[in-house]
Amino acid sequence: MLNVAVANLSFAYDETPILAGVDMQVEAGSFVCLLGQSGCGKSTLLRLLAGLEKPSAGQIRVEGRPIAGPGLERGVVFQDYGLFPWMSASENIAIALKQKFKTLNAAERRALARERLAEVELPSASFDKFPGQLSGGMRQRCAIARAFAIDPPILLMDEPFAALDAVTRARLQELVIALWRKDARRRKTVFFVTHDVDEALTLATDIYVLGQSPGRIVHRHSFGRDKVLGRDAFRGDPGLFALRSQLIGIINEEVSAFRILDGGLAREAAE
């Protein structure tokens, strides 16, 4: 369990500002959903948290220490799975285990990899298959198994279910909640990028809404520590529906504040 502090974070790509002045104080064990329209910079923020990009200004600190690059303390689940296609599902887990647990021998790694895959309910017949031979949902289960296998205190998930059908998505959301809840004392701090308001409401303890061009935090909602609502919360909770409408309203307001003018983006005056 690690605290994450994002202070005045900015990022520009080829002098185009993507993120500007992002501030976040995230308590250890929180499930943070970064919510916003496509192109608002939420995936960039996640890449910065992963150490895959360097900020133009500002800093990200984990337990007070600035992050210097990618590392095993921050597991990543990419939207396109991030699995190595030339390795079988179990080899993908085993290589991660080899990096994290240096004392395990090959047989132990293999056994543990299969255990982790079983934990995410991947059928055993698919353990030795290449990712290309698995369905999207199975691949994402494998990617989640790999991220949890190295037991990182921080987990970064970049729209992991965006390409999946509604039923698979719902099942995987439940799986992620179950895995997150599993060990209360060592609960992971999760950053989950999504553009789906319902997904954010289902998963998050904290929701950060990002505005557009450049991306910045325009709204924060916290349900309080440990309080992940889950899918059942939607059943007849008028408060939640009001919050849902409010969040959609904020996102729409941000989007409609921009118009494409002669090929360039310009921010219109809010009034």
Partner: protein, 250 residues
């Protein structure tokens, strides 16, 4: 079952032999001096089989070390150059310049530089195979999907582990395509390499009978080389398919 699977291959083969027979022995369309018909090639082939077999072993002694060296150095340097952008910028113009020089033109220089005809021959085959492998390896490494490298970075996979478990497998489809081209090119260069300093070999056999205008033996030699190349390429294809079984088309 296997014959049924390869029916197309057999049909084309029979078609080519039949067509050639028609043009030569059948209808005598082609000049019989240059284009010996199957009636002359078959006995020449059978008569030379022992010599061709010996030639195969002799050629292998040139081909195997030359190709192995080309694979090792081509992939080694290719990975190094592919991963180091500053180095790539410096050496690319020279790679382009030197790889364009026809290897056959370098034969006199190779004979002069190397201590024996054998090493000079090996060098000529090596150089011909080296450039396509180097080029394909550089291309393979520079076009690795960034996602794989980022995945490796988030798992702190580095050094030798990254090289052998991430970089080489990711670039393998392109590298193996280059190796396949290099293998065919090595066979072509075999004839050139065996023109000097050797008294046996498949290329030598063809060259020897060509000098005496015994084209039935020349064609027999060609056919033997073609059969060997087909067998070698089939073996290579089996290896390639195993290595890149994870790709969509295998």
């Amino acid at each position: 079952m296997k014959i049924a699977k390869n029916l197309g291959v057999w049909l084309i083969g029979f078609g080519l032999v039949g067509g050639y027979w028609l043009l030569t022995d059948g209808l005598h369309v082609l000049d019989p001096f240059l284009f010996a018909g199957p009636s002359r090639i078959s006995p020449a082939f059978m008569k030379s089989l022992g010599k061709l077999g010996e030639g195969f072993v002799s050629s292998l002694a040139l081909l195997a070390p030359a190709y192995a060296l080309a694979v090792m150095l081509g992939i080694g340097f290719g990975v190094l150059i592919g991963l180091a952008a500053p180095l790539r910028r410096i050496v690319t113009p020279y790679i382009n310049a030197f790889s364009a020089v026809p290897v056959t033109l370098l034969t006199p220089f190779a004979i002069h530089i190397f201590s024996s005809f054998y090493t000079a021959s090996v060098f000529v085959i090596f150089l011909g195979a080296f450039w396509p492998i180097l080029g394909s390896t550089i291309a393979g490494v520079t076009t690795i999907d960034r996602r794989y490298l980022e995945s490796a970075a988030t798992l702190e996979i580095g050094g030798v582990e990254k090289m052998f478990r991430v970089v080489l497998p990711a670039a393998a489809p392109t590298i193996l395509a280059g190796c396949s081209i290099a293998l065919k090119f090595a066979f072509i260069l075999l004839t050139v390499a065996e023109m000097f300093g050797t008294t046996s070999g498949m290329g030598y056999f063809v060259q020897y009978y060509s000098d005496f205008a015994k084209f039935d033996f020349v064609i027999a030699g060609f056919l033997f080389m073609a059969a060997i190349l087909m067998a070698v390429m089939a073996l290579f294809e089996t290896f390639r398919r195993r290595m890149v079984a994870w790709t969509l088309n295998g």
